[in-house]
């Protein structure tokens, strides 16, 4: 909340309050004058406090904040509690000295003010549109060290503070009524009402309990039904369609195998939560899986990939991805029908280790002609330029294994292993 000094008559406190709650400031001013007279001037003190504590809408900070070290520690609960206790102490001192209005007014008012302050703090800010069509005033953002994501605990604390605020306001009202001997007349009526409510509660308790239980059972049944419908819809859209396609392509075993593997991947993803990456950003694990799937589809080979951990795509991870893609392409081209190509990747804070294995015919790395740059440049050279290494282990008839390793940072590279 801010003071609206442009539209205010004195310091803009009531104009700012009116803007905040969406009430015409004139109504607030009339109510303030009546309440100030009724409280013997106590509200004037409250007005002064509000003037000192509230910043102006034009961007000026609160008068008290300009001179007080409190500005540096705004938001610290200890300062708030200390200020509250010191104010209470001052009120008590005034009472002892005889500078006092009346117990029947001052204490309920103090309680109500505290309760309203609690409620105010947790109420959402109201964006009121002024009648003249101007843009609503927006409180300037205040950089604060306390600005951080809210936790679940703070939400609970807010709920409790709200309930406490309501109790304080109700308690203040009751205290005021009791101090002015108004409650005596309504006490009998209130007691009657409480007795009637308790009796009705006792009579209706079994019915209400059964009703609540039926509602819970109904809700559980509806949730189960929705889940079943979702599973049925997914099975129809994916698995049944793929099975139909496989029946049509029964004469092509590689196509059938490719369809089955694609469906398997999709089902596994769906069972695991449906997403490839947690936040939709490109990550090494998701890109590796995508590359494996693309090569699997293009070359009609089976690729089994296991990726442990994940990281973002920086220069080093990009190099690993490029080298792995090249190794997978080589394996897909040359392994033939020797069984699935296996990819195993382990990604952690220290580094990335990736292995691509196939059981194809293999080759002798020493006999690769110098003009064949696939392995030498795209795998080994790429990894060395990025600060890692790649080893090709292969022998004629014994399959091929490409081992790729790189540290995630220079510090990790320098650490002795």
């Amino acid at each position: 909340m801010t003071r609206d000094t442009r539209n205010g008559w004195v310091a803009g406190v009531l104009a700012g309050l009116g803007d905040r709650v969406g009430v015409d400031p004139l109504v607030l001013r009339i109510a303030f004058v009546i309440a100030a007279i009724a409280t013997g001037g106590l509200l004037l003190l409250a007005y002064l406090v509000a003037w000192a504590a509230l910043p102006a809408a034009e961007g000026d900070s609160a008068p008290v904040a300009r001179f007080s070290p409190l500005a540096r520690v705004r938001g610290d609960w200890r300062v708030a509690v200390g200020a509250g206790l010191l104010t209470l102490s001052a009120l008590l001192a005034f009472r002892q000295l005889g500078i006092w209005w009346s117990d029947a007014i001052a204490w309920p008012l103090a309680l109500a003010a505290f309760g309203v302050a609690l409620l105010w703090v947790r109420s959402p800010r109201r964006a009121a549109l002024p009648a003249d069509g101007q843009a609503p005033h927006v409180e300037p953002p205040r950089p604060s060290p306390e600005a951080r994501p809210r936790r679940a605990g703070s939400k609970l604390a807010e709920e409790y503070s709200g309930a406490f605020g309501v109790l304080l306001v109700v308690g203040a009202a009751l205290l005021f009524l009791s101090s002015n001997h108004v409650l005596g007349g309504v006490r009998d009526a209130a007691l009657t009402a409480v007795v009637v409510i308790v009796a009705l509660g006792l009579i209706l308790a079994p019915f209400l309990w059964r009703f609540g239980r039926n509602l819970a059972a109904e809700r559980a049944k509806r949730i189960r039904s929705e889940e079943r419908a979702e599973v049925a819809a997914h099975l129809h859209d994916s698995v049944l369609q793929t099975l139909t396609l496989m029946q049509k392509r029964a004469d092509d075993p590689r196509e059938v195998a490719s369809l089955a593997r694609r469906q398997e991947r999709e089902l596994r993803d769906w069972l695991a939560g449906g997403g490839r990456s947690d936040n939709g950003e490109r990550s090494l694990a998701s890109e590796l899986r995508s590359a494996a799937e693309a090569i699997e589809d293009d070359h009609r080979v089976a690729i089994e990939s296991i990726v442990v951990g994940d990281c973002g795509l920086d220069t080093r991870a990009d190099a690993v991805l490029g080298a792995a893609r090249e190794a997978l392409l080589n394996a897909a081209r040359h392994s033939g029908d020797s069984g699935p190509i296996r990819v195993y990747a382990e990604i952690d804070d220290a580094g990335i280790a990736l292995f691509v294995r196939d059981r194809g015919s293999g080759f002798d790395p020493g006999t690769v002609p110098s003009d064949r740059r696939g392995v030498r440049e795209s795998i080994v050279g790429r990894m060395e330029r990025a600060g890692g290494r790649a080893d090709i282990r292969s022998s004629p008839g014994g399959g091929t294994e490409v081992a790729i390793e790189i540290a995630r940072s220079d510090a990790a590279t320098r650490e002795p292993t």
């Binding site: 409190l70 938001g75 610290d76 509690v81 200390g82 206790l85 008590l92 604390a157």
Partner: protein
């Protein structure tokens, strides 16, 4: 080896407040002053409030208001 002594301003200030409170109570019990229950409430709330305030102003880590 000599240990470095570091003053904790919050503890120091809180101690001063409590010592002052103790002195006041001592004077009261010695008959030099008559503190009524009302004035006792004033002094106690002021002392506790001052300690909280000093702790918030001078102290380091403390629970922050969620706001």
């Amino acid at each position: 080896m000599r240990r470095e002594v570091k003053l904790d301003p919050v503890s120091l200030a809180s101690g001063v407040v409590i010592a002052a409170l103790g002195a006041l109570l001592l004077v009261d019990s010695a008959g030099g002053l008559h503190l009524s229950l009302g004035w006792m409430a004033v002094v106690l709330t002021a002392a506790v409030g001052a300690i909280f305030m000093l702790s918030g102003l001078l102290g380091g880590s403390g629970g922050k208001n969620p706001e």
